[in-house]
């Protein structure tokens, strides 16, 4: 397929691609897919924003029940944060080695990402169970209802991300690192990094401001 036969003045055509601005031909499928998934992530962020707003409004409504200072253990929250941050890092390295067509390294990083994400979930579930056992479940006060809704929704997203990761690793093993699988991996890594961004908000608004 030669494009040089098109009868046009070369000087009038920009020689550098200008993706996304109409010049240089259609954007690669990878860019388009990532853009579509990015729109989904932003809509997910807006849902989280609604939950954040609910929490911010209800944080003081403890109905005589326990407040954040009495419930939160910053040490385990710090370990949780580091687990999620490191799993985001290893997810990025995994996506990079997949793009460089290094399946062995990809599987290693994917396993590390899974273990760190699962460790995060384990700590979170333990924390939730401890709170419910102390009578500070979601039915205690509006503060705790909004706390469990916000942090629980993030936890459900992490669970979904882990299930998705297992499914993608199976695809890489069966189909190999072909273009369609790489696009799915790209979407998953966007999702996983976005969850870490939401956690920065949870950490700051819920835990650190709740204790400070």
């Amino acid at each position: 397929m030669s494009v040089a036969t098109i009868d046009a003045d070369p000087a009038a055509v920009p020689s550098t691609p200008a993706r996304g601005r109409g010049g240089g031909g259609p954007a690669p499928k990878r860019t388009v897919v990532a853009y579509g998934f990015w729109i989904f992530i932003l809509s997910d962020m807006i849902m989280f924003a609604a939950l954040f707003a609910a929490y911010a409004v209800l944080a003081g409504s403890t109905a005589g029940g326990p407040r954040g200072v009495q419930l939160f253990n910053l040490q385990s929250v710090f370990i949780e944060t580091m687990c999620l941050l490191l799993s985001s890092y290893s997810c990025g390295l995994g996506a990079l080695s997949a793009e460089r067509r290094q399946p062995g390294q990809f599987l290693l990083f994917a396993a590390l990402t899974f273990v760190l994400g699962a460790a995060f979930l384990f700590i979170e579930v333990t924390e939730f169970a401890g709170m419910v056992a102390r009578g500070a479940g979601p039915d205690r006060s509006a503060f705790l209802s909004s706390f469990f809704t916000l942090v629980g929704t993030h936890g459900v997203h992490v669970t979904g991300g882990l299930v998705w990761l297992v499914y993608l690793v199976a695809q890489v093993m069966v189909k190999g690192l072909r273009a369609s699988v790489l696009r799915r991996l790209l979407c998953w890594s966007l999702f996983w990094h976005a969850l870490d961004i939401v956690w920065v908000g949870v950490l700051t608004l819920v835990y650190l401001m709740g204790v400070a």
Partner: protein, 120 residues
């Protein structure tokens, strides 16, 4: 016009021939900055050295800085022409998020301040 000059950069839709823009280094720099911001947040939240009413502001600034680090180093939002659309969409998302959270806090704080508690 001779055919040897390729001044056009025409591509078939769906052709995957891009170079990975990220590197191990950029992820590691991002991780380092994110860990710094996280540790700083925990220190700010628990220290007695700072003026107490300023602590939430400091935490907010650190959180926004860390989100910026994540966006640039992990999600690779940059000034490249490929991410123009993504940055524009993000800007709209941030607008909606701020309207939602800020508006809710503002309205409910107003209602709480003006509420008349009826005698039972």
């Amino acid at each position: 016009m001779d055919g040897s000059e390729h001044v056009f950069d025409d591509r078939t839709p769906g052709v995957e021939d891009h170079e990975p823009t990220a590197s191990y280094l950029s992820y590691t720099v991002g991780l380092g900055l994110a860990i710094l911001a996280t540790i700083a947040s925990f220190v700010v939240a628990q220290t007695d050295l700072l003026w107490a009413p300023g602590i939430p502001v400091g935490l907010l600034v650190l959180a926004i800085a860390q989100i910026g680090v994540h966006l640039v180093f992990f999600l690779h939002l940059g000034s490249g022409s490929e991410s123009t659309n993504n940055v524009l969409a993000l800007a709209f998302g941030v607008l909606v998020v701020f309207l939602l959270i800020g508006g809710s806090i503002w309205i409910i704080a107003n209602l709480n301040a003006n509420i008349m508690l009826m005698p039972m």
